[in-house]
């Protein structure tokens, strides 16, 4: 009888552990319900570096934009909410570009570069669009739903992030946070990158500001 009781307790403990860790895995670092802010494991940490091709086939790294505040937007041509945001991003790039904002789109669909280029042109996109890879989404905590947007300060740290469509004014507020988060002026790329690499470890083991970016 005593042995059965111990077995029962062990089974309950095991189930509790399995359910607990299972639900953690399901949530992951990014909440995907509409409009919620990512509570994220990577907020306040260095944004994982990556190297992706732009629409002209040129390799682009996130660290190429060091010294600027970066709005990193994961999107796809089949994503309706993403399409809504794009004209806002065009306006916001115009408005905040002179203050050091760089919007960067990462297209996560498989529709081919020609479709992505054509769609971007049709939307009047005035910022770089990169061809995304799953590894980059994974490096950012597993981008499950689109749009997902990360706001990165001039030193390369994630200030905040968001999954799902939010209002233009909320996006603008987050841009202001990213611009205000660090005081390094645009153009001081070398100095900031050096200090950053020296002081902070990366979120994802495959990523590093100084090492090989996710490709």
């Amino acid at each position: 009888m005593k042995r059965n009781a111990v077995t029962l307790v062990l089974v309950i403990l095991f189930i509790a552990l399995v359910v607990f860790y299972g639900s953690r895995g399901a949530r992951g670092p990014a909440h995907v319900n509409g409009g919620s802010t990512l509570s994220g494991n990577i907020d306040g940490k260095n944004a994982p570096d990556f190297e992706l091709k732009d629409l002209d086939g040129k390799a682009v790294k996130l660290t190429d934009y060091r010294g600027k505040a970066v709005l990193l937007n994961f999107w796809a041509t089949w994503c309706g909410p993403c399409k809504v945001e794009m004209p806002w991003f065009v306006d916001l790039q115009n408005q905040y570009g002179p203050q050091g904002l760089q919007i960067v789109g990462v297209a996560m669909d498989d529709s081919g570069i020609d479709n992505i280029r054509s769609f971007s042109k049709q939307m009047g996109v005035n910022y770089p669009v990169l061809i995304g890879k799953e590894a980059v989404g994974e490096a950012y905590g597993g981008v499950m739903g689109l749009p997902t947007t990360f706001y990165i300060d001039r030193l390369g740290k994630v200030v905040t992030s968001n999954a799902g469509l939010i209002s233009k004014s909320e996006i603008e507020d987050d841009i202001k946070k990213a611009l205000a988060s660090s005081s390094a002026p645009a153009g001081s790329t070398t100095a900031t990158a050096t200090s950053n690499a020296a002081t902070t470890s990366m979120v994802h083991p495959r990523t590093s500001v100084t090492g090989t970016p996710v490709q």
């Binding site: 077995t7 029962l8 089974v11 399995v18 089949w78 499950m144 799902g164």
Partner: protein, 163 residues
């Protein structure tokens, strides 16, 4: 293994399976029912069966004919040579138009809630037997604020030929 141990094993196994499914990206659509097609003596040359699916609340998927070529339509694929022998084909329901809060002027044609796809088969020249045809429902789901990567739901179409 006594009864109590067996029950413990089942409970643990069920909890483990549940937790593993949590760890993967969600399935936005589930299979409700796939009635078999039975070609018995006197049955018509072609039979149809409604395979029913359920979409998670607050989600929608594009219909088979979405209004934009950029959107990914819902499709069904049948696999294997038996599918060809049985001339399996899918007939899709008409979607319904919705407008989402973020884009009130643009209409989307979608399925939401429960929907049924009609599967038609013909057993002409097919040897008697039980056939289980692997099939996939391909869809792409969104809610009011987010869209999720295209997904595939596997199911089977059972066909019985007795004549």
């Amino acid at each position: 293994m006594n009864l109590r141990n067996s029950i413990s094993f089942v409970v643990v196994a069920a909890a483990t399976c549940c937790a593993q499914s949590f760890a993967h990206s969600p399935d936005w659509v589930t299979l409700v029912d796939a009635p078999p097609l039975t070609f018995s003596s006197g049955a018509p040359r072609e039979l149809k069966s409604e395979v029913r699916f359920r979409i998670k609340p607050e989600m929608h998927i594009n219909s088979h004919q979405p209004k934009s070529e950029l959107l990914i339509p819902t499709t069904v694929a049948f696999n294997g040579t038996d599918a060809t022998k049985l001339h399996l084909k899918a007939e899709f329901p008409v979607g319904h138009d919705i407008s989402l809060p973020f884009e009130p002027d643009e209409k989307l044609n979608v399925y939401s809630g429960d929907f049924a796809i009609t599967i038609a088969a013909s057993a002409k020249g097919v040897a008697p037997g039980n056939y289980s045809i692997p099939a996939t429902l391909n869809y792409q789901a969104c809610n009011n604020a987010s869209c999720f990567p295209p997904k595939t739901l596997n199911f089977e179409v059972d066909v019985r030929v007795t004549r």
